[in-house]
């Protein structure tokens, strides 16, 4: 209950006892105050007490099937599942007393009874909740003296997911993800007792656009993603926080990489944007990082040195600038960070005094939009460009196409290789006096560039992007740019210097600080700290 | 024709002499030095192969034994020692650190001495057992006889280039 409604009720009926908005309970002798409606497990987490659990997930409904979170509540005859027990005033909870500890230990032994000896070949090993809980809580040897129950091992559930029914501990998290996040009932349990088994619902396939979230929530290796399984061991990966570049939603993600290569993207919880989830399409965006990668500057399609390429670009652009300034266009990229676009805006607007601005990027995909996370705009930073360019709204690709066909343009400086133009307009690009492209991929407009300047891909840069809600979100560089590529803001800075202009950014941080000063929409945003990649092996397992 | 046979026979004879009188320059830096001592000491007795005589002047030695980790800081020194040695010369990387950096993959340890100078024989092991070292010495002796050491090959190539062959 919010403070406002409470104030409304207070005046007319003072006699009525006020319903408290928060409750205070005692857990393991420590008092804690939490909002009403919090369950005991979350109250304990607020205290730093981690009660073990399999089926409980903060983003899903509570079913209390795993019984792994049993605690003693004073006054209750039986142990209570702390995920289902709501915190109440004066409640006294014990999590470390012998009874609840013993119960949790027994549950763990029970869960492990039929679990196959799969760790060495299991994809979840290293980030498995079952492993960590056993290691932390039980650590007792096996007492099983009968054969284990066997279940199907490689079950194809859909285009993205494979099930190993033996490893499943029947927590039903995946069923709830499909029901509650994707809104499609595609998974079910069948049979009972030790023969209970996960399966797809009759007539269904696990093919909703959020299906890989089931792999994330799976506490064990029962569900594995076809995209990731058997490619890399989880504990070898390094995690770097970033933002998904798949659409304007800007889901918070972790880039999990090793040896200068991304192996998977997983969602990072953010209640304001994506809660705990992200869509499958977004997870696959990392594949493009390794396709047709531009790793060195090109002049006339041939690899070249940086100084030569920059000089060539500067000379070509300046030649047109001096004669037909109004026929020089600049294309901003909603696929690039605010810093890249800001540096470009500074160069184009403040130094070169160009007025012909366009926005490139991928064309919208209306059919992918839903009310959950996916947006029709498949560019992560369109809103950021709008903020940077302020009132002078840049024209879209359609206007650029018109201008090209009408011969209004003699030179173009393009950021990013995505430019949705017709073939005819693309052909016109070849006739321009100067076409300088700053891109990370040798595709699209890069193929027609007179000078192509290699920029770092999104996994390699630190910067910010603004999502559709207007939230400015921070990305971190996962690894060093490939080949000779440089971050786009640095390319722009060097291009400016090559043409004799004074643009002296030394780091993405400096561009950001400059942007915060100059652009009203960025007031009050902070850069935050730079993260050190942490090897997953040494982080706690995710659950 | 006759001259060629004579020179190649002469070369063989010289190589035969070279292989039984390898003068080592022990570029000892680290743990492997302990095993290098053992190789030289009575039980394993490097003297049996005519290589027992360490020369601490690069100008008097023809076998450079890189014994131990080479760090980035040591690189220039190693290069200088190698450059000062007279031709023909041979190089043995003693232990994994000198071969690849071993389990020291960091800002200071060089990933193998061959980043700086060419190496003829690599001895794995951390440190290698003395038997392995003797094996490597025998391997090198074979190479020396066959004229396949890196500096011998280089010399031959240069000669060919000079004579236009």
């Amino acid at each position: 209950m919010s403070a406002e409604t409470r104030a409304d009720k207070e005046a007319p009926a003072p006699a009525r006892p006020e319903a408290p908005a928060s409750v205070t309970l005692t857990i393991d002798g420590m008092p804690v105050t939490v909002p009403k409606g919090t369950n005991v497990i979350e109250a304990a987490r607020a205290l730093g007490i981690d009660i073990s659990a399999f089926c409980y997930h903060p983003g899903l409904s509570v079913v209390a099937v795993c019984r792994q979170c049993l605690v003693t509540v004073e006054g209750q005859p039986k142990l209570q599942p702390s995920c289902q027990a709501m915190a109440a005033d004066g409640m006294v909870v014990h999590t470390t007393d012998p009874t609840s500890r013993g119960a949790r230990r027994q549950m763990l032994e029970f869960t492990l009874l039929n679990h196959p000896v799969d760790c060495p070949i299991c994809d979840k090993a290293g980030e498995c909740v079952l492993q960590s809980l056993y290691f932390e809580h039980d650590n007792a040897p096996s007492r099983l003296d009968v054969p284990k129950v066997h279940k199907p091992k490689v079950v194809d559930l859909g285009p993205n997911i494979v099930l190993d029914a033996e490893r499943c501990i029947l927590c039903t998290r995946c069923i709830r993800v499909c029901d509650e996040v994707a809104g499609e009932h595609e998974l079910e349990m069948k049979r009972r007792g030790d023969h209970e088994e996960l399966c797809v619902a009759p007539g269904e396939v696990l093919d909703n656009p959020y299906s890989i979230n089931t792999v994330d929530v799976c506490p064990v290796g029962a569900l594995t993603a076809k995209d990731f399984r058997f490619t890399m061991r989880a504990w070898e990966l390094l995690a770097t926080p970033s933002v998904c570049q798949g659409c304007a939603t800007g889901c918070n993600i972790e880039i999990q990489h090793r040896n200068e290569r991304v192996w998977r993207l997983v969602p990072r919880p953010n209640p304001a944007v994506n809660h705990y989830w992200m869509c499958d399409e977004g997870r696959f965006t990392y594949h493009a990082l390794r396709e047709k990668r531009l790793v060195s500057p090109l002049v006339g399609g041939l690899p070249s040195r940086w100084d030569q390429a920059l000089t060539a670009a500067a000379v070509a652009l300046r030649a047109v600038l001096e004669t037909d300034r109004d026929k020089v266009g600049v294309v901003f990229s909603p696929q690039h960070t605010n810093e890249d676009n800001h540096a470009l805006a500074r160069l184009a607007r403040d130094i070169w005094r160009i007025e012909r601005f366009y926005v490139g990027g991928k064309p919208p995909v209306p059919e992918r939009a839903d009310k959950i996370l996916r947006d029709a705009d498949v560019n992560p930073n369109r809103r950021g460009i709008r903020a940077i360019l302020g009132g002078e709204l840049a024209a879209g690709a359609a206007v650029l196409e018109e201008d090209l066909l009408e011969g209004e343009i003699k030179a173009l400086l393009v950021l990013g290789h995505h430019l949705p133009l017709s073939d005819e307009a693309m052909a016109r690009l070849a006739g321009l006096d100067a076409l300088v492209v700053i891109a990370d991929t040798e595709d699209g407009v890069t193929l027609r560039a007179k000078v192509a300047l290699a920029s770092a891909s999104w996994a390699e840069v630190a910067g910010t992007v603004t999502n559709r809600q207007g939230l400015v979100q921070r990305m971190q560089a996962a690894y060093e740019p490939g080949g000779q590529a440089l971050p786009a803001w640095e390319v722009i800075t060097r291009l400016a210097q090559a043409s004799g202009a004074a643009l002296g950014y030394g780091s993405a941080r400096q561009v950001f600080d400059d942007m915060v000063q100059k652009v009203a929409d960025f007031r009050g945003t902070v850069w935050g700290s730079d993260a050190r990649p942490i090897q997953l092996r040494f982080a706690n397992s995710r659950g | 024709m006759g001259l060629e046979i004579a020179t190649s026979k002469l070369e063989d004879a010289a190589n035969w002499g070279r292989k039984f009188s390898l003068f080592t320059y022990p570029f000892v830096t680290a743990c492997c030095g302990m095993e290098f001592m053992s190789v030289a000491a009575p039980k394993y007795d490097l003297a049996r192969f005519g290589a027992e005589f360490p020369r601490f002047s690069p100008r008097q030695s023809d076998l450079l034994m890189i014994v131990g980790t080479i760090t980035e800081r040591q690189g220039p020194i190693l290069k200088r020692v190698y450059d000062q040695m007279a031709e023909p010369k041979w190089v043995i990387a003693f232990g994994v650190c000198a071969s690849t950096g071993g389990f020291y993959q960091n800002y200071s340890a060089m990933p193998g001495a061959d980043q700086v100078i060419p190496v003829d024989v690599y001895i794995p092991g951390c440190p290698p057992r003395p038997e392995q070292v003797l094996d490597a010495i025998m391997l090198l002796m074979k190479r020396v006889q066959e004229g396949r050491g890196h500096s011998q090959v280089r010399h031959k190539r240069e000669q060919l280039l000079r004579t236009g062959g």
């Binding site: 492990l112 000896v117 492993q131 096996s142 | 680290a30 743990c31 009575p42 039980k43 389990f103």
Partner: protein
């Protein structure tokens, strides 16, 4: 012309010289090392000499900086053992023990290490001390021209290496100690072999003592060379045999008894003058004391397990690992995530071959240390060099350096 003369003759102008005076010498800078037979390959000493006499020196370690600390921060607690082996590679077992004790202290399981494991740790430490001192004296004697003691001592060292090889599987880099105990029990005939080797080693010690202790040349090169006063030595943080040679009876094994050293009877030899000869004598006597300790330890060693029973630090048996999921998980977590050490920091120190060898471990609660600093006696002992060689001849640098017993891996870390 006068300018030229000045240039040629150095500090003094030739006109200023009176005839009787010896030829003027120019201050000269001489590089000793880093690749120099007496510098063990890893130290450069830039000497400024006046003739033969050292007037100024700059000791530059760091040529073997292998980033022990950085590597440790990226390795699990168990994976660090091989790195500790390569710190002081002449006595790796002591490093193993010292590091294991630091982690055990941080985990609060010092008392859980079984008595047998503690005895084994003492035994391997003392064997290592023997190899350390044998190498130190042997190499130093060789650098002074006495090749025979070197060969004799290396022969004895070889016996000890082979003994430890049989125990651990490696000749030099053992990684035998584990957190919570040792990897496995002593071999069946360890007692007999050790007894035999100790007897023979004693013989070698006696032989070499005859050859060196009263050797005119050896004494001339060692006596009065590199002497240090106790108060100065303390200020430099000198520890181990070098400090004891100065007359300070600081020995961690007596001062802060760890493992079972308080149950063993041994004496701490101290010197009087702190010169190289005293350092040699102290080391020689320490070897005798080590042999004495080894005999007592072998006599007193109890039967029992060699690893702590704590499942947090002990691996399950292999048979169970392959057949039950419980043991499999435990094994997997031990190997992949490492032993979880509670957050905090601890410093633990032992008597290494060259002095107080300490490990300062900071944990953040995960399976690898946040920081693992090694207080390496070699590094600190080496810092005294530029003081002790001052005023000595260049040739004296060799015994002084030899008796400091700088071990590159430990010094440069």
């Amino acid at each position: 012309m006068a300018e030229l003369k000045k240039l040629v003759l150095g500090r003094k102008n030739i006109e200023d010289l009176d005839d009787e005076q010896e030829l003027p010498t120019e201050l000269m800078t001489v590089n000793m090392g880093p690749s120099h037979p007496a510098m063990h390959g890893t130290v450069r000493i830039v000497l400024t000499v006046d003739g033969e006499r050292v007037v100024e020196s700059d000791v530059q370690p760091g040529f073997l900086h292998r980033c022990f600390e950085k590597e440790s921060e990226y390795a699990t607690y168990t994976q660090i053992f091989p790195y500790t082996d390569r710190l002081n590679y002449v006595s790796p077992m002591i490093n193993n023990v010292g590091y294991a004790m630091a982690v055990e202290k941080l985990m609060g399981i010092v008392s859980e290490v079984p008595a047998r494991a503690q005895y084994i740790r003492v035994i391997v430490s003392e064997v290592s001390r023997l190899t350390d001192h044998l190498t130190c004296i042997g190499a130093s004697a060789m650098e002074l021209g006495a090749f025979t003691p070197f060969l004799y001592f290396l022969k004895a060292r070889e016996w000890l290496f082979e003994l430890l090889e049989e125990l651990s599987g490696a000749r030099l880099t053992y990684s035998y100690v584990r957190i919570g105990g040792v990897a496995h029990d002593l071999t069946d005939d360890f007692d007999d072999r050790l007894t035999d080797i100790l007897r023979r080693t004693e013989g070698v010690l006696a032989e070499v003592e005859v050859m060196l202790t009263n050797n005119r040349i050896f004494r001339d090169r060692m006596e009065g060379v590199g002497a240090m006063e106790a108060s100065v030595a303390l200020g430099y943080g000198l520890t181990g045999p070098c400090l004891r040679a100065c007359g300070v009876d600081y020995d961690v094994r007596k001062d802060n008894p760890y493992l079972v050293y308080d149950q063993l009877e041994f004496d701490v030899p101290v010197g009087t003058r702190g010169d190289c000869f005293d350092r040699y004598l102290v080391r020689l006597e320490e070897m005798r004391q080590s042999i004495r300790m080894l005999r007592q330890a072998m006599r007193d060693i109890p039967a029992g397990p060699v690893m702590a029973a704590d499942p947090r630090v002990t691996l399950p048996p292999k048979k169970e690992t392959y057949n039950t999921i419980e043991a499999m998980i435990r094994h997997f977590k031990h190997i992949m995530d490492g032993i979880k050490v509670p957050p905090g920091e601890a410093y633990s120190w032992v008597e290494g071959g060259n002095g107080e060898l300490g490990f300062f471990v900071v944990s953040d609660g995960t399976g690898r240390p946040w920081k693992c600093y090694c207080r390496s006696p070699s590094f600190i002992n080496l810092s005294t060099i530029s003081r002790t060689i001052h005023g000595h001849l260049i040739s004296d640098v060799v015994p002084i350096f030899g008796m400091i017993n700088m071990i590159g891996g430990e010094c440069d870390k």
